[in-house]
Subunit: 158 residues, 2 copies
């Protein structure tokens, strides 16, 4: 789906959500959602705020926090806390299901897709708990850090 089409759909989804919850359709909320759907990366509140300001759209940080919470509740954005603050977010509508590899040395987060895991998880039932989505974090050491460590050990050996 092209980006513009996706944005249109999520705008509609936001409208539905706001009406269902009897909340107001403020321009800030639509502007922030639009910015979120203009990127494919993970982001935190601060960088989203900067992005808004640089795009000549002034909002307060409080409103960014408030809106993001709303989007998470509406299922349009996912929140992640990969062990280090600040919280990271990503758009979730029409986004390929994926998992996260988190390097415990350098903190780098890498996305991976694994159909087998996705299939298993999406068919899983957990008793009376109604699952809406999954976050799988795989912690370990990325290739770059593993190489660096190896090199270091060799140096020590000398």
């Amino acid at each position: 789906m092209p980006e513009e089409k996706t944005k249109e759909v999520v705008r509609q989804k936001l409208t539905q959500y706001l009406e269902a919850k009897k909340l107001r359709k403020t321009p800030e909320r639509y502007a922030i959602l639009d910015k979120i759907y203009s990127t494919n990366e993970h982001f935190d509140v601060d960088s989203l705020y900067d992005f808004m300001v640089n795009s000549k759209y002034r909002v307060s940080k409080a409103t960014v926090y408030n809106s993001i919470d709303l989007f998470v509740d509406a299922g349009l954005v996912r929140k992640h806390q990969f062990g280090n603050n600040p919280a990271q977010y990503e758009k979730s509508y029409n986004t390929v299901n994926h998992h996260h590899l988190i390097c415990t040395r350098c903190g780098k987060v890498q996305e991976v897709k694994d159909q087998e895991i996705i299939d298993i998880l999406s068919n899983k039932k957990f008793g009376k708990f109604t699952a809406s989505y999954y976050s799988l974090y795989v912690y370990g050491v990325c290739n770059r850090c593993a190489q660096a460590e190896k090199k270091k050990k060799q140096t020590v050996r000398k």
Copy 2:
């Protein structure tokens, strides 16, 4: 494995880790590790700190933070950030592998065990990334909250 035996083993593991990294074997580190392995619950830094103080073992909060980081790196403790601060921790040695169901309404965290998921994940390879452990968070609505919501809707209908 009885609790005392487990504590003994993790003490040894900590010793190995500290020696390998050429760090010091301070009484604080062993005392904190011991307290962590005296509970089966998730905990945060504050409650662990209180637990230490109430047990007449005075440590500073900075030392608690410092030590926990060490334990996480040593693989003796797992860190979780379930969407709300503060970070939650749990002991990891000799602990049954499990996943977390997190209610997005009330924030309650429930543990579940699913052998199929465990098997799949522990055999999975992610390219050159060396995985050490997994965190699977299932977000959704717990039974209690689902019931409460149902009831509310019925009331509104009247």
